[in-house]
């Protein structure tokens, strides 16, 4: 029971033939050529025997699928094989088994044939297994890739940590140890020996291994590097970690296109009195906060309200403010703060924001977030407004009554927008909107805009009808902005130059954006 060859034959030519035993080309071509002579369409059986071989075939549209076996072969087995092969061909050719399709998918067919027959013996496989085999989609491989990827990430992480540690140590050490330009160009020079840092050495094997991997699979790692792109201000830390004796990784990371972080002042000193220059503010500070929450239709929080914020600095005049430092008012410890890795962590503990070392100075006109914070609350009091929505079913649709109340009267909300989704077919009709105005944009939504909502006008309501059920009008959204104040108390006491100690003038803008989703 040995299959010598499986072939797809058109009248006078062999389209595809796969041999499973050792045969010379002459022999196989001879056999296949003879087949076309021998095959006779009028017969009610589909095998032909010659002196030395047997052909078992199956017509497939205008083609013939033929299996050549030796004569002692087990016909039942061969027919089984043939059936499976036919299914495979059918599957590979997708629509129609024609010459064109067979040639187009010739390689797929050959690959699939290989799965059906090995060494001339039929394998016990099913069509779906063959498909799996030829698709080659391996869970293992993905796992392997993931492991590799995570190793790379880990190594990078590790390098970063080490670098931070180093920076900290350096910061703690006397200033004379780190003159200007220290470590800027002579990075490779910072050997573990000079630092005497044993934990640094611990990272060597792993980073070395990492380097190896990168080296052997450069194209792949570059794509990986792209994946890790969205950390816009990745510090040069990995560079440092990797740079220890390895050139390639450095190149690779260099190609990642990470912006070189700005050098910043290094030493925390007592600040001089701030000098104001109202005409020209070399530093601009944006304190932005965003509060998001999911609310229930009936009012009340669904889950937690999340408040995230950031403190972002843009140096407009690098000559004056390249090493700006900020002294902040004592912070509310209910919020969780994260500071930029370039900043000096110890000084942050003292409510001072300054860069770790002078080489990390700010660059002009590049906004850099220095501090981020987050706060989560499930307390409704945290939100400045309350809404209650009353959908009711009418004869030909739904009537919505929405009541809005500003609960925290200390807050002034601007640009309040409440939007209901509404398809054009529902033809919503606004019955009343007070204060502000409501309108339907004609296609997708009903929008209620209130320019200002404050204690003078703390209540509002909206009424409209739409020819649809209440579910399709949900969820609706609430957006508003509060300017000049944030939820997190973030006040700049002063701003000064880190080295010159001169005060620097700055402008500070605060804003807090609210965006809620109701009835999701």
């Amino acid at each position: 029971m040995v299959v010598l060859s499986a072939a797809i034959i058109k009248k006078d030519k062999t389209l595809v033939a796969r041999q499973f035993v050792e045969m010379t080309r002459l022999r196989i071509e001879g056999l296949l050529g003879a087949f076309t002579k021998l095959v006779d369409s009028g017969k009610d059986h589909t095998f032909v025997e010659t002196e030395s071989v047997r052909y078992v075939y199956q017509p497939m549209e205008s083609l013939n699928l033929v299996v050549i076996t030796n004569k002692a072969s087990n016909i039942l087995e061969d027919l089984e094989t043939l059936r499976l092969l036919a299914k495979v061909v059918q599957d590979c050719c997708e629509i129609q088994v024609s010459e064109e399709n067979v040639l187009k998918h010739a390689f797929d067919i050959v690959f699939a044939f290989d799965e059906v027959i090995s060494f001339g013996y039929r394998e016990s496989v099913t069509l779906s297994q063959i498909k799996t085999y030829t698709e080659m989609d391996s869970h293992e491989e993905r796992l392997h890739m993931m492991v590799e990827q995570s190793k790379i990430n880990e190594a990078r992480e590790m390098a970063k940590k080490k670098q931070m540690e180093l920076a900290k140590q350096r910061a703690l050490q006397p200033k004379d140890a780190a003159g200007p330009g220290f470590g800027s160009d002579s990075l490779p020079g910072i050997g573990p020996s000079s630092m005497g840092n044993s934990s640094f050495q611990d990272t060597m094997p792993s980073s070395g291994g990492f380097g190896n991997d990168m080296g052997s699979s450069a194209p792949w790692s570059s794509s990986m590097a792209e994946d890790s792109g969205p950390a816009p201000l990745k510090p040069g830390a990995p560079k440092k970690g990797m740079a220890l004796g390895k050139k390639k990784p450095a190149d690779v990371l260099g190609s990642m296109g990470l912006p070189e972080p700005a050098p910043s002042p290094e030493v925390a000193e007592e600040p001089a009195a701030p000098a104001y220059n109202p005409l020209m503010d070399p530093v601009r500070v944006d304190i932005e906060e965003k509060i998001t929450a999911d609310l229930q239709v009936e009012g009340g929080l669904d889950g937690e309200a999340v408040c995230t914020g950031q403190f972002q600095v843009t140096v407009l005049d690098a000559s004056k403010a390249d090493l700006a430092a900020f002294r902040l008012a004592p912070q509310n410890q209910e919020f969780k703060y994260k500071i930029h890795p370039n900043l000096n962590k110890t000084s942050h503990a003292n409510n001072v924001l300054e860069v770790r070392e002078a080489s990390r100075a700010y660059r002009a006109n590049a906004p850099v977030p220095l501090v981020k914070w987050q706060f989560k609350s499930s307390n409704e009091e945290f939100l400045p407004v309350q809404m209650s929505c009353w959908p009711s079913t009418t004869a030909d649709g739904t009537q919505i009554v929405l009541e809005l109340e500003l609960t925290d009267t200390s807050v002034t909300l601007e640009d309040v927008q409440i939007r209901f989704p509404a398809a054009a077919s529902s033809r919503p009709q606004i019955t009343s909107a007070e204060p502000g105005e409501a309108s339907y944009d004609g296609q997708t939504e009903v929008c209620w805009r209130i320019p200002v909502l404050d204690k003078s006008e703390a209540n509002g309501n909206l009424e409209f009808v739409a020819k649809t059920d209440s579910a399709s009008l949900m969820p609706f959204t609430f957006d508003a902005v509060r300017r000049g104040a944030t939820k997190c108390p973030m006040e700049i006491v002063e701003c000064y130059h880190m080295e010159k100690k001169e005060p620097i003038a700055f402008t500070c803008e605060k804003s807090c954006t609210y965006s809620f989703r109701i009835g999701a």
């Binding site: 002579k37 059986h45 095998f47 016909i75 039942l76 390689f107 090995s118 080659m136």
Partner: protein, 996 residues
């Protein structure tokens, strides 16, 4: 190592290559960063390489740019590329680059993707270079323990192939590892593969394993069971130590639910054992498959197997005849025919004949059913059944009675073949069993009037003429044929009357006479006669018109037959009333007249001559005066016919028919096979070379079969002494001895391909460079491998090879030229080669066919080539012999039994001896040759491509001793007719040369 030198073809894909791109173009694409572009380029490259282009330069590009790819498709395509790429340098050493490939392969073997791993292992199975495999061995072995069965499965195969190619020494631990794997493996395919590996590489372990399994075998998967059976066959053939235990396993497996397994079990049993129990089991399994499988292919092949069994174990099979007959329900004619072949060959015995005949009868009746009559092939089936009944009852006359009347109903059948078969059947019965004559003839008389086929009528008439002798029979019979004839004649005359406005007197007279005669003897018949007359006069053609129209329409053979039969009857029945005699004479005379006047007839035509003979015989009886020579002739005729000489002839014919019949009932050929000449070599299977003589009955060797299928290795063939002799005899000179390059060629024919061996000799005193033999072909030949260019030192010689594929039986011509460069000359020099004719004879094999089939084909085939005979041979016999010997054609209508056991000779070729035997056997032709100056013979042969070649040779020997005539060749395709014609033309001319 020899394994490394032969180049195998693993894959063929058709590709219209057009203008193949250059290496650079492909390289550019291959270097692309994009995987899809790379895959496309690789695909193109592989296709081009499969179709004969070679891109050696791209190997490095592939290694540098493609091997590193991670894309799965690229990886897969690469495996094919490695399969087909040229891995060696010109001198046969491995290319250095391949070592680089090793590294890539090693990486792939450790790849995380199990499918990449698996396909790489599969690729390694096809690698035949130890230097590539060596560094990978370890990785391969490690994969035996891979988590995925897909990898393990292929790893096992890879180990298997390595061990098979390079011996177990290279992987000494492999059998052990594989055995361990076998014990714990759960995946069926892997398990099977592992077992196969052991079977082929370490049989001891395999045996141990199987024996340890014992009963569990029957619960394993089918493919594993098949492998076990393979082992059993292998082992039992070489030793019989564990045969008993193994046979037990086979018996157990026979009950398997998998049809493939039970089939394999059955064939194993047949090969391994000859005990009736085993054979019975096997036969039963076959029969079960036969009746339960609906696939015709299975049925046919199972029937083939059964046939083999039947040949050697008749007794066992006898009991199963009725079961096998159940397969007749299958509508395929091929199946039915095979069933008949098996059952009727020798299995019908007195014990079961009754059942068999009953069954056949039932089947015949079934074919008459309404729905059956609409199905295709019904007629053929009925014919087959009739033949079968014929064969059965020929041997067992007591059964004949029960069927003959049923069959006689078919006499009136509009299908000529069926009716003819029936007549032949009746003829045999009448001739052999005198007690059946009367009822048959009686019945025949009743229905002969309805017969519409000329041939059938003739048969009936002859039977009447020959066998109506008994007085008693005659009393009942005589009037009937006469009546029919008369009736017919009446009409005929009436019709003739109308046509010719002549002899009205005769007409009326006849009618009256006839009426009178029959009125006295048989009222019923007479009435019929009158009826006919009436009808006739009313000019309405009804039931008897068939006979009449035949006579009128100029079927002279029938006319003559009528005359002769009537005359014969009259001669035999001496005491016939004179009136009746006169009446008969009148009828004959009328027929004679009709023949004479007919457009195609005339006084000289055969039929007229014959009829006048009859008339003369009557005249002698009536004591009329005749001229002496005529008298003598008439008396001779009378004597001849009276003495029932025809019966003697018939007996001979019947004997011959029995010899040639498809189902020689009860004839044992077995006896013949079992006798071995005392001086014949004893064949030891273990000692046997590939070319050993006939193996023991039924013991087909798997390996041998497999090797035959793969195409026997050329090296082996070359060693064959016969080939050496052939080489000496057939070598042809292609250029002159004085040419700078001397070439001679030897064309060796393998079945569908030719191997051209060219001996190239440098005859000059200089070194010749770039000696290239350029070949072209004409006809249906295709050059597969061209010889490569060589450099020849002074006087050096070299053998080159070219292989050529033949597509059909046609004379082909190979021609060409040889080019070479001398150092001294700037230009290439060139000499033209002789033409080399491919002998058509190599493709024509003798074959046998019956006359009916021959005639059918003769009328069907479109191409005819007529060759006039022009020869110096003066003896017809010699000429025929010569033609037959030189065309491999044999006489139609007789099987060549004698040559069947002559296995040593090359199959399909006719030797002079065969031809002589054949001519000797053909009694009729021999007689013709001896006695007559006209001879016509039909010849037949078949090409190895299955094309039929028919020939008819008609020779007349002229008084001056020269032969004239023509030879007509017909075939379905033009090529064969033309080539065979050419062959005959050459041959008959060639005779002169060889004779003189």
């Amino acid at each position: 190592m020899s394994v490394e030198t032969e180049k195998y073809c693993t894959v063929l894909i058709h590709y219209e290559k057009g203008v193949p791109p250059t290496s650079e173009e492909l390289a550019k694409k291959l270097e692309s960063k994009k995987e899809t572009v790379q895959a496309e380029a690789l695909e193109e490259l592989v296709l081009l390489m499969i179709n004969g282009e070679s891109y050696p330069k791209l190997l490095m590009t592939i290694i540098r740019f493609v091997v590193t790819s991670r894309d799965h498709r690229v990886k897969k395509l690469l495996t094919i590329y490695w399969e087909i790429v040229e891995k060696t340098k010109d001198n046969g050493d491995l290319k250095e680059e391949m070592i680089l490939v090793c590294n890539a392969l090693r990486n792939d073997l450790m790849h995380a993707n199990e499918y990449v791993c698996g396909s790489t292992l599969r690729l390694l199975c096809k690698m035949k270079y130890y230097r590539i495999l060596e560094p990978l061995k370890e990785a391969v072995l490690r994969n035996l323990g891979h988590r995925h069965s897909y990898v393990r499965r292929n790893a096992v195969m890879c180990v298997f192939s390595i061990v098979k190619s390079f011996g177990v020494e290279v992987l000494p631990e492999a059998p052990e590892d594989i055995e361990q794997l076998l014990l714990v493996e759960g995946d069926l395919s892997t398990k099977r593969n592992a077992f196969l590996m052991l079977v082929n590489c370490d049989q001891e372990r395999a045996i141990k394993y199987v024996l340890s399994l014992q009963d569990q075998v029957s619960s394993m998967g089918d493919i594993f069971q098949l492998a076990v059976l393979e082992l059993v066959r292998k082992v039992c053939r070489s030793t019989s130590v564990n045969k008993g235990r193994f046979l037990r396993i086979v018996f157990d497996l026979a009950a398997s639910s998998s049809t493939a397994v039970s089939y394999e079990c059955a064939s194993s049993l047949v090969t391994l054992s000859s005990s009736p129990v085993a054979i019975h089991q096997a036969a039963q399994a076959y029969v079960q498959l036969l009746t339960e499988q609906s696939d015709n292919n299975v049925k046919l092949i199972v029937l083939d197997r059964l046939r083999d069994v039947q040949k050697h174990h008749k007794q066992v099979m006898e009991g199963m005849v009725m079961d096998i007959f159940r397969a007749l329900t299958c509508p395929s004619l091929d199946v039915r025919k095979k069933v008949m072949d098996i059952c009727l060959g020798s299995l019908v015995s007195p014990r079961n004949i009754k059942d068999v005949v009953a069954l056949l009868k039932k089947e015949v009746i079934k074919t008459l059913g309404y729905e059956a009559s609409n199905t295709e092939g019904n007629l053929e089936y009925r014919r087959l059944l009739i033949r079968a009944l014929h064969a059965c009852t020929g041997q067992y006359p007591d059964q004949a009675q029960s069927v003959m009347f049923l069959l006689m109903d078919f006499l009136t059948e509009s299908d000529q073949t069926t009716a003819t078969e029936v007549v032949m059947f009746l003829r045999e019965l009448i001739a052999n069993y005198s007690d059946m004559r009367m009822p048959i003839l009686q019945r025949l008389a009743e229905c002969v009037g309805d017969v519409s086929q000329s041939r059938v009528l003739r048969g009936c008439l002859w039977l009447f003429g020959e066998y109506c002798e008994d007085e008693a029979v005659l009393a009942a019979l005589r009037p009937l044929p006469l009546a029919v004839e008369d009736g017919a004649k009446d009409k005929k005359e009436a019709a003739g009357d109308k046509k010719e406005k002549k002899a009205p007197k005769i007409t009326t007279k006849t009618v009256v006479l006839a009426d009178g005669t029959y009125g006295t003897q048989n009222v019923y018949e007479g009435g019929e006669g009158e009826e006919e007359e009436v009808e006739d006069k009313g000019k309405t053609d009804t039931k008897k018109t068939a006979f009449r129209t035949l006579l009128l329409g100029g079927d002279f053979l029938l006319s003559a037959m009528v005359g002769v039969s009537l005359t014969k009857l009259c001669i035999k029945l001496k005491n016939l009333p004179v009136a009746l005699r006169n009446e008969v004479l009148l009828v004959i005379v009328n027929i004679f007249k009709l023949v004479k006047q007919h457009v195609c007839g005339g006084e000289k035509c055969d039929s007229a001559v014959r009829l006048s003979q009859c008339i003369r015989a009557f005249a002698v009886m009536g004591n009329s005066q005749l001229p002496p020579p005529q008298l003598a002739a008439a008396q001779l005729v009378q004597g001849d016919w009276g003495a029932a000489q025809g019966r003697g002839q018939l007996a001979k014919v019947l004997e011959l028919a029995a010899q040639n019949s498809e189902w020689a009932l009860g004839q044992e050929e077995e006896v013949q096979e079992k006798s071995v000449a005392p001086d014949e070599c004893i064949v030891f299977r273990q000692l046997r070379e590939r070319k050993g003589g006939a193996g023991p009955a039924g013991g087909m060797d798997d390996d041998e079969d497999f090797h035959a299928a793969r195409g026997a290795s050329m090296a082996q063939a070359a060693a064959d002494g016969a080939l050496f002799a052939e080489r000496l005899a057939k070598v042809q000179q292609m250029t002159g001895l004085a040419d700078p390059v001397y070439v001679e060629a030897f064309l060796q024919v393998h079945s569908f391909d030719l191997m051209l061996e060219l001996l190239v000799v440098n005859r000059t005193n200089e070194t010749l460079q770039n000696v290239l033999v350029e070949l072209s072909t004409q006809g249906d030949l295709k050059l597969v491998d061209r010889p490569s260019a060589v450099t020849l030192a002074a006087g050096q010689q070299m053998t080159l090879h070219a292989s050529i594929k033949v597509a059909s039986t046609e004379t082909g011509i190979i021609f060409g030229y040889v080019t070479f460069e001398k150092k001294s000359a700037a230009d290439k020099e060139c000499s033209v080669l002789n033409e080399l004719h491919v002998d058509i004879l190599d493709y024509i094999e003798r074959s046998w066919i019956n006359e009916l089939a021959f005639r059918t084909m003769w009328s069907e085939f479109e191409w005819e080539n007529k060759v006039n005979i022009n020869t110096s041979i003066t003896e017809v016999g010699t000429f025929l012999e010569h033609i037959m010997r030189n065309t491999n054609m044999s006489i139609v209508g007789r099987s060549y039994k004698k040559t069947g056991d002559n296995k040593t000779q090359k199959k399909g070729k006719l030797t002079a001896e065969d031809v002589q035997d054949m001519l000797k056997d053909a009694v009729g032709i021999k007689k013709l040759i001896d006695t007559s100056s006209f001879v016509a013979v039909n010849l037949y042969a078949k090409s190895i491509f299955g094309e039929d070649a028919l020939a008819n040779i008609s020779i007349e020997k002229l008084p001056d001793g020269k032969l004239t005539g023509s030879c007509r060749i017909r075939s379905r395709t033009q090529g064969i007719a033309l080539s065979l014609g050419d062959r005959i033309t050459i041959v008959q001319r060639g005779v002169q040369a060889s004779r003189e």
